[in-house]
Amino acid sequence: MRRADPRFPGMAAVRGMDARTEQAEESRMSEIAAAGVRPAARGRLGIGAEAARGAPDVRRLLQLALAGIWLLDALLQYQAFMFSKGFSHMLAGTASGNPGTVASPITWNATLIEHHLVLLNAIFATIQLLIGIGIAWRPTVRVALAASIAWSLGVWWFGEGLGMVLTGDASPVNGAPGAVILYALLAVLLWPADRGPAAPFTAARAVGAPVARTLWLVLWLSLAYFALLPGNRAPQALHDMIAGMTDGEPGWLAALDRGAASLVAHQGLAASIVLAIALVIVAVGVYLPAPYAKGALVLAIVIAAVIWGFGEAFGTIFTGGGTDPNSGPLLALLALTYWPARAAVPAPVRTAPAPAAAVDEGTAAP
């Protein structure tokens, strides 16, 4: 809450202040302009105890991170490559290996996009732009999150071939189960609702701890399963996957990928087993006491970073052909939503506004 500050005595003092004071005043005012509003805003958002402690609303920060990734997605969708036939061919390629009922709509969609490439891609990019802005703009956060779920499910099918999970080619190293489905999962877990009086971590606030933990378990166990698929545990599978990411990359990134690929050359089985074990540890980690859960979540973030850097080449953004940053950042963001709360996360408390908030709203007694 705002406090009286003796350094702001009013007009007369401001007029008379010396250069040093003026500098301090200006900087202080600037700081306040940038940050000073937050406590009052939180009070009226019903964030209650967190605001009282001066701590940021973790869920809102995670929503903003999700909004940022959507905005990045949107801007990447405006790249020149997305207005070329390469984009529609890329979409059509995801039909390969999928069952006919899944593949046919993908092919139809890719054909449609090819015929109306500029218009449809501009619409796609704009939709993502609006989703990102909508999540960041507080009054529209629910609408935007709901839209993001619907959009993600559509793109997961028509744009990513259900993450190739039905083809036998899915691998956690190259983005399985599909980055876009993680957007939908995050939107659900970060939905602005509270189901109980206390939640052990942010993701539990919207859906409850048991459901949140189950979703986490299913996701990471499925990644472990994909890591052990025959196509991924072949001796050169991981090497080829990483080495295949070097095309079009900047020299430093290509060198990193080549180095990583050489490390796992002919080690496909061992690497897959190690990765699967790590993924299982992460999967069950959220059921452990907080200190161990934190360790598992740190491991999840490390795995996400390694996958993003070496397996996904940062979403191939540096090639000019990346439609999104891929699954690495989303897995890391997901892990943060399960980070144990310092204390129980309170449900929103619709209490009477705190004094400063009341002042802000002009309801204070004169």
Binding site: M1, R2, R3, A4, D5, F8, G10, M11, V14, E22, Q23, E25, E26, S27, R28, M29, S30, E31, I32, A33, A34, G36, V37, R38, A41, R42, G43, R44, L45, L64, A67, G68, L71, L72, L75, L76, Y78, Q79, A80, F83, V118, A122, G132, I133, A136, W137, R138, P250, W252, I317, F318, G320, A356, A357, V359, E361, G362, T363, A364, P366
Partner: protein, 263 residues
């Protein structure tokens, strides 16, 4: 190839930002109102110059300054906002480095400088310089050296834009994030467009306590500098703080867009 009409839309947005920034400068009349307001005019000047430069980059037919001229301008601007960030940090601590008032402007200016310095000449259709970015229907678009830096700048710009949107839409938005316009009779000079602490014992707080109940959160912050009869009250109309923040959001998104399409 990116269709030219998409670039034209972004360029049009930048021209609107430039016009709004120019209008803010004219309305604020910093040259008549002393050093304090002049000190904050730098933001509108920065917005004006950056918006013109970006519009020129996006539309090949829009000739502005030579690249060398823009490089000098944005180098000076970067140094100026760097100085202000360091000055803020000395007073307010290291938080000012990332979350201070001038930090976003420093990033914007540095990103512009980087774009002008790192752009490689287009390889097709002979368009030279930033004005050739969309030359030949984007086939002559240049690319940026050090693409990792472009990506990092884009991330920072997106981050600040998202943060600004959140703060601007918060129910208690005030200061730079106020959506309200001020109608309070000014009782104390507070720097234009800058929030002041409103609380018991402060001038702003006193003004608020005596203000009608319908006044919004930001009003004390905007009840600034007793204006002469002919001058518009600060914080109203085009001088409303949210206008500057809106310009910053539009520029941040457009700049991130340009950085990403030139990687």
């Amino acid at each position: 190839m990116i269709p030219s009409w998409i670039l034209d839309i972004f360029a049009a947005i930048m021209l609107v930002v430039a016009a709004v920034s120019a209008a803010r400068l004219v309305a604020a009349r910093p040259w008549w109102h002393g050093a304090q307001r002049a000190a904050l005019a730098d933001i509108d000047v920065a917005h004006l110059l950056m918006a013109i430069a970006m519009a020129g980059m996006l539309v090949s037919g829009l000739q502005t300054l030579p690249n060398g001229g823009w490089e000098v301008i944005f180098a000076v601007m970067t140094a100026w906002f760097g100085y202000r960030v360091v000055r803020d940090a000395r007073v307010s601590g290291v938080r000012a480095l990332a979350g201070g008032h001038c930090a976003p402007h420093l990033i914007h200016a540095a990103a512009m400088l980087y774009m002008f310095m790192a752009l490689t000449a287009p390889t097709a259709h002979g368009s030279v310089g930033m004005g050739g970015m969309s030359g030949g229907g984007m086939s002559g678009m240049g690319t940026l050296q050090l693409p990792l830096l472009a990506f990092l700048f884009a991330l920072a710009l997106i981050g600040y834009s998202i943060w600004d949107l959140d703060q601007l839409s918060g129910p208690g938005a005030s200061g730079h994030y106020s959506l309200a316009t001020a109608r309070v009779v000014p009782t104390g000079p507070v720097l234009a467009g800058v929030g002041a602490p409103a609380g018991p014992g402060t001038a702003a707080g006193t003004a608020l306590a005596s203000a009608p109940p319908a006044l919004s959160a930001a009003e004390p912050a905007e009840a600034v500098h007793v204006p002469p009869a002919s001058a518009p009250a600060d914080g109203t109309g085009v001088l409303a703080p949210w206008v500057a923040t809106g310009c910053r959001i539009a520029m941040g998104v457009t700049m991130a867009f340009m950085l990403l399409i030139m990687i």
